[in-house]
Symmetry: none
């Protein structure tokens, strides 16, 4: 469907003249009751139908307003056990495109990387810059933030603030666990929050998993293939988008 | 446990030579009775133990066959309009982890990169190596292949061989189209094939979209955020895994 930017929609009515009038009538050869998208200066989008074709204007009536938001209806925080190299940059860039709201990192037992205070500050600044650029590029209306937690205990403490806490667990994938993520997405409601926790290369050890479970974290499998530490958050976010933004209409 | 692709397992016995022989004996320094996973060309996976360490071969005996497949129940081919830099490496590595069966690339109108015959050969070899390593790492029982098509027309011709053809279309995302992908996944049956086509940076132009549609390609939106050319295939594959491997049980 065609899309036209208009200066205003008043009393659910818009009038189009000039080039767009020409485009609608001559190029598209539209007729009465044909539908288009109208976009207002405040970035709201309406579906509208042609109600009058004048000599030099087209009048349209709004049929419905589209949900203008490009934000996921649920609030997802991605927490990564410090991975090697520059993987956090990839997680932050792609995770922002895919709709994450916040990013956390923390030292896990099997983390090879170590961040002291100075390094954490520099890295955080760089990752927030990456998130801002990715937010602009992907048409987000929210810029995700990034925070490094000094300890695993700080992550456990922080987890209490979320409606749901999940940990991506490789053994779940190997054991053929398939229902937990779909059950979670079936249970979550609009505006609820979930903290999704991912291990570093090599995953979590049994003690870390036990502590997370003691803090109400639900183990979820992300399909039967073993995903790298930076790929698992992409899967989680894309599956959430599919479940909450696409499949509900399917 | 290490994982090796073998040409055949005959009478519950396999013989490994060449690079994998080197990997088993020199890199992993395995000994008699050490166990590995063996994957056959028909995608079955066995647990096998080393029964003989020769000068230039290792003989292994099957202990048990694994039941579960780690392959997506539908066959997804990812076709990318040549993107910039080394993005095809990321698409191939992560796409393999996420379950793609085949990869194609082709020159799109807005592709900046150009591949001549010699470059295409070298790149293809490199990308197939990346796919093999990612397949082993993610416990795939199938190694995806990579093929470069010289022309857009070759892509159109090839599309006829698939049960479904879709093109990720940015305008669909902007227009708030949400149902097409869920409808597709609701329609596809086990073992059916889909060719999923992605534009380069800047996307497809209207003429390319028209040609694709004339070849029965369905335009699909991948949520309301604009994804980079390398992120869109990850979304498509993760959503397919969620729809076919997790949500069906939800």
């Amino acid at each position: 469907m065609q899309r036209y930017f208009v200066d205003e929609i008043k009393a659910e009515t818009a009038v189009i003249t000039g080039d767009n009038f020409h485009h609608i009538t001559r190029v598209m050869r539209m007729k009465l009751e044909d539908e288009v998208y109208l976009v207002t200066p405040d970035e709201r989008t309406a579906v509208a139908a042609i109600s009058e074709l004048g000599e030099d204007f087209v009048r349209l009536n709004v049929i419905s307003w589209l949900e203008a938001s490009s934000e996921l209806p649920v609030e997802i925080t991605i927490a990564s056990g410090l991975p090697k190299g520059d993987k956090l940059e990839l997680i932050t860039q792609k995770g922002t495109e895919l709709g994450a709201k916040h990013f956390l990192s923390f030292p896990a037992k099997r983390s090879i990387s170590k961040w002291d205070g100075k390094k954490a500050k520099k890295k955080t600044e760089r990752l927030e810059k990456i998130a801002m650029e990715a937010a602009e590029q992907s048409h987000r209306s929210f810029i995700p933030d990034f925070e490094h937690l000094d300890t695993f205990a700080a992550l456990l403490e922080k987890s209490a603030a979320y409606d749901y806490v999940v940990v991506a667990y490789e053994e779940s994938a190997k054991e053929g666990e398939t229902a937990a993520l779909a059950t979670l997405f079936g249970t979550m409601e609009k505006d609820q929050s979930v903290l999704a926790i991912f291990g570093p290369e090599g995953g979590f050890d049994a003690e870390e998993i036990a502590k997370l479970e003691a803090h109400h974290a639900l183990k979820v499998g992300l399909g039967p293939r073993i995903l790298r530490t930076e790929t698992a958050p992409f899967y989680f976010l894309a599956a959430a988008s599919y479940a909450f933004e696409l499949a509900k209409n399917g």
